[in-house]
C-alpha cells in the first residue's frame, strides 16, 4: 500500500485549498439563514418560552461533537489499516474542532438547563456522556502532544480514539440506567415532542451550517498540519543506500 504515503498529503494540499472557500461560503449562508429563522421568524415555544432558542446552537453543537469523534476514529482506523499518513493528519485536524463543539454543547446545555430545570448541571445521560466525550477528546490530543515520534503519536492516539468510540454509547446507556434507578428528575433534552416545522427547519439549517463550517476548518487545519510535517528538516533527502561489501 504505497500509493498514499508520500504523494497523497502533498497532492491533497492544493485540493483542500480549493474546497475551503466553497464550504466556508455554504456554511456562512446556512448559518445566516438558520439564525434568521431561528431568532427572528420562529415563534416562542408556549411551554419553555424563548429559552428554547438555545437549542438552535446547542443541538447542532452536540450532534457535531459526537459525529466528529466518530469520524476522527474512522480516519484513525483507516490510517492504521492502510498505513496512510493523510488519514492520521485528518484525525489530528478533527480533534480540536470536535473538542470545541463538545465544550460549546456543555456550555449551552448549562444555559438551557438553568431556566428549564432550575439547575446549571444535572447528571443526565446526555450531559454526562458529553462531559466524558470532552475528556476523551482531551485525552486523544494530550496523548498526541506528549509523544515526540510522529508515527507513534499518530498510532497511539488512534488506538485511544477507537477505544473511546466503544466507550461513549456504554456511558450513555449506563447513565440512563443509573438515572432511572435513582428515580431522580427524569429529564430529557428533547423536551419538545412535536417540534414545529419552522423550528425544525432552523435547527437543521444550523446543523448543516455547523457541518460545513467543520469541514472548512478541518481542511484548513489539515493544510497547516501538512505544512508543519512536510517542512521538517531533512525530509525527503534520503541518504545514500548503504554499501554492501561481500565476504570481506
Amino acid at each position: 500500500m504505497n500509493w498514499s504515503k508520500y504523494s497523497a498529503p502533498l497532492a491533497f494540499y492544493p485540493l483542500a485549498g480549493k474546497m475551503i472557500p466553497w464550504f466556508s461560503a455554504v456554511a456562512a449562508l446556512a448559518i445566516a439563514v438558520g439564525l434568521y429563522i431561528g431568532l427572528l421568524v420562529a415563534p416562542t415555544d408556549f411551554q419553555q418560552g424563548d429559552s428554547y432558542r438555545i437549542i438552535f446552537v446547542h443541538v447542532p453543537a452536540a450532534w457535531m461533537s459526537m459525529f466528529l469523534y466518530v469520524v476522527m476514529a474512522i480516519w484513525a482506523g483507516v490510517g492504521m489499516g492502510l498505513n496512510a499518513r493523510l488519514s492520521f493528519m485528518m484525525a489530528q485536524a478533527i480533534a480540536p474542532t470536535g473538542a470545541m463543539f463538545t465544550f460549546l454543547a456543555l456550555l449551552t446545555g448549562a444555559m438551557w438547563g438553568k431556566p428549564t430545570w432550575g439547575a446549571w448541571w444535572v447528571w443526565d445521560a446526555r450531559l454526562t456522556s458529553e462531559l466524558i466525550l470532552l475528556f476523551q477528546y482531551a485525552g486523544v490530543m494530550l496523548l498526541r502532544t506528549s509523544i515526540d515520534d510522529l508515527r507513534r503519536a499518530d498510532r497511539a492516539s488512534g488506538v485511544l480514539a477507537l477505544v473511546g468510540v466503544v466507550n461513549i454509547p456504554i456511558i450513555y446507556f449506563s447513565v440512563k440506567w443509573w438515572n432511572t434507578l435513582h428515580q431522580g428528575a427524569s429529564v430529557s433534552m428533547t423536551a419538545a415532542p412535536k417540534m414545529a416545522t419552522i423550528m425544525l427547519t432552523a435547527m437543521l439549517l444550523m446543523t448543516f451550517g455547523f457541518w460545513m463550517y467543520s469541514i472548512a476548518v478541518i481542511l484548513s487545519r489539515v493544510r497547516c498540519v501538512i505544512l508543519e510535517r512536510e517542512s521538517q528538516p531533512a525530509w525527503g533527502n534520503p541518504s545514500a543506500a548503504p554499501e554492501v561489501a561481500e565476504a570481506r
Binding site: 454526562t128 482531551a138 477507537l162 477505544v163 449506563s174
Partner: protein, 227 residues
C-alpha cells in the same frame, strides 16, 4: 520447532510476574495501604453520621478501589519496557493478546484481589450490613478485573512518554465510568431493596466485553510503543 504451547507461555508470563511481586512485596502493600487510607479519610471529611456514611459508602469504596488500581497501572508494563523484557515477550511465537491477558491477570492478583478481600472490612467502617457487604465484594470481584483490563490499554499507550503517570489517569478514568456506575449501583440498589442482580450482570457484561476487546487494543498499543 521451538514454540511454547499457548498454555505454557501464558503460565510463564503469570509465573514471572507473580514471582517478581513476591520479591517486591512493598509495592503490593503500598497500594492496599493507599486504599485503606483513602477510605478512612472520607468519614473524617464528611462527618460521622451513620446514615450519611451508609449512603456514600459504596461510592467511596468504589472510587478508592478505582484510584488504587490506577496507581498500580504503572507497574504492568513500565519496568518490562525499560529492561527489555517486553520486547522479548512480543517476540514469543504466540498471539500477543493472549500473553497480555496473562500480564493483566497477574496484575489483578497483585493489585485487585487484595482490594476485593479487604473490602468487607472497609465496608464495615461505612456501616454497610450483611447483604450489602456481600454485594460489594461480588461487585468488586467482577469489576476490578475489568478495571485492570481497561487500564492495561492506557498503561501500554503511555509507555516511555513523559509525564506518563498523570497522563494514564486522564486517559483511563473516562473509560472507568461505566464500571463505577454499575459497581456502586449494585450496592446502593441492594441497600434500597431492589436487589443488585441487574447491576451485577451488567458488570459481568462489562467484564466479558473488556476481555474480548482490551487485549487486542493493548497488544496494538504495545507494538506501537516498541516500534
Amino acid at each position: 520447532m521451538n514454540r511454547p504451547s499457548l498454555w505454557e507461555a501464558l503460565r510463564g508470563v503469570v509465573r514471572r510476574d507473580l514471582l517478581l511481586a513476591m520479591r517486591r512485596r512493598s509495592d503490593v502493600v503500598m497500594s492496599v495501604f493507599f486504599l485503606v487510607i483513602v477510605a478512612s479519610l472520607f468519614p473524617l471529611g464528611v462527618g460521622p453520621e451513620p446514615a450519611v456514611l451508609r449512603t456514600i459508602g459504596a461510592g467511596v469504596l468504589w472510587v478508592a478501589a478505582l484510584l488504587a488500581c490506577l496507581l498500580s497501572l504503572g507497574r504492568v508494563f513500565t519496568a518490562d519496557y525499560l529492561d527489555g523484557v517486553l520486547e522479548q515477550m512480543v517476540l514469543i511465537a504466540q498471539p500477543l493478546p493472549v500473553l497480555v491477558v496473562g500480564k493483566v491477570f497477574a496484575h489483578w492478583i497483585v493489585s485487585g484481589l487484595p482490594v476485593v478481600l479487604l473490602s468487607p472490612l472497609l465496608g464495615l467502617q461505612f456501616g454497610l450490613d450483611g447483604e450489602a457487604l456481600g454485594v460489594l465484594v461480588l461487585s468488586l470481584l467482577l469489576g476490578t478485573p475489568t478495571l485492570s483490563m481497561i487500564g492495561a490499554i492506557g498503561a501500554a499507550l503511555v509507555l516511555g512518554v513523559r509525564g506518563s503517570g498523570l497522563l494514564v489517569a486522564l486517559l483511563v478514568l473516562p473509560l472507568y465510568v461505566p464500571v463505577l456506575i454499575f459497581g456502586a449501583g449494585a450496592v446502593t440498589s441492594s441497600m434500597a431493596g431492589i436487589g443488585g442482580e441487574a447491576n451485577l450482570s451488567l458488570l459481568g457484561a462489562c467484564l466479558v466485553l473488556s476481555l474480548f476487546f482490551s487485549p487486542w487494543a493493548t497488544a496494538a498499543a504495545l507494538r506501537i510503543a516498541l516500534e
